[in-house]
């Protein structure tokens, strides 16, 4: 007891927290496969209940609530055209949520590994860029350009958003500066999305292990008390990741709407 309560707990916690490693490549593949299997099983059960006219199966009802939640989020943040992004956002939410839930019962989870999170963030931010370019390209094709040049010009129009407002020739250094800063902030979106999820999940595991190490002399897993905090983290982090993806999508598509809303309305 003496050694636990009257010494600096940080070295103990640090030692066990630092030893906590990710699942490794094979383990990561195993856990991702496990999560996918779990999602597939749930979706299979959900699909069974879809055949009835009124959803009686509780799992189907739960899935319906989840769908309504995702739909609400998309429509509230992105706007009326957000319905298109529901499958993408829903997939991200489902994978992250199930991956995080695995973290509650297993010593590690796919979302506690930076490579998995970074790949998801790259997909999300890459899709956002694609949508930004596609918005401009579609707009130009409505105006009568051929597809290749529409995509080409759309790419540069999308890039011109990063250079801030038009300031004139004398302010070119400042425009360049804004461009560099905006590009960096765009790249930081990947890092912020992935690092947030990774930090929360990995931090949860490390904290539980550290507290368990501290509780070893009295034979009591103190880390178990952190399960409540982890439960909160699981839900909030899955929400935050998808919410921020929605916000990024809305930023890109709103830009396009502001510039071409009049012309688009005339074209339709």
């Amino acid at each position: 007891m003496d050694s636990v309560f009257f010494t600096n707990l940080l070295p103990i916690a640090e030692a066990s927290g630092g030893e906590h490693e990710g699942p490794g490549y094979f383990g990561l593949v195993f856990y991702v496969g496990f999560v996918l299997l779990l999602v597939a099983l749930v979706v299979w059960q959900v699909r069974k209940g879809l055949k009835e006219r009124i959803f009686k199966s509780p799992i189907t009802q739960a899935a319906e609530q989840m769908y309504l939640f995702i739909e609400n989020m998309c429509l509230n943040i992105i706007g009326a055209h957000g319905r298109k992004y529901i499958p993408f956002i829903g997939t991200l939410w489902l994978i992250i949520f199930v991956g995080n839930t695995v973290a509650l019962f297993f010593p590690t989870s796919p979302t506690a590994d930076l490579s998995f999170n970074l790949s998801m963030a790259l997909i999300a931010v890459g899709y956002v860029q694609y949508e930004g370019i596609k918005g401009h390209a579609d707009h130009l094709r409505h105006a009568g350009r051929d597809p290749f040049s529409a995509w080409f010009v759309g790419f540069f129009k999308h890039m011109s958003h990063f250079s801030g407002p038009k300031l004139g020739l004398a302010m070119i250094p400042i425009t360049l500066l804004i461009f560099v800063v905006e590009i960096i902030s765009e790249l930081m979106k990947n890092i912020s999305l992935s690092l947030r999820l990774f930090g929360n999940m990995h931090g949860g595991h490390a904290a539980v292990e550290a507290l368990n190490t501290v509780g070893q002399p009295i034979y009591f897993p103190i880390g178990g008390f952190l399960l409540v905090v982890k439960l909160l983290t699981v839900v909030v982090q899955a929400l935050v990741f998808t919410l921020l993806t929605c916000v990024y999508i809305s930023l890109v598509t709103h830009h396009e709407g502001e510039h071409g809303s009049g012309d688009l309305a005339a074209a339709h």
């Binding site: 630092g18 030893e19 947030r196 931090g203 919410l243």
Partner: protein, 66 residues
Amino acid sequence: MMMIGLGLAVLGAGIGFGLIGYGAMTGMARQPEALGKLQTVMLIAFAFVELTFLLTLFLAPGTFNK
């Protein structure tokens, strides 16, 4: 010394969290019908405050990400 720095970082993040929670709660109490929107914005703000702390944590070498 590094631990003091981390403690200061937590202090800043805690103040940030508290301010966001305070603002969101006053807003919700004044306008309960805007609860959903306030919660969304609150979570986004939480995420940004959290990120600054996480960046500190990961940039402080040898404490967390060995």
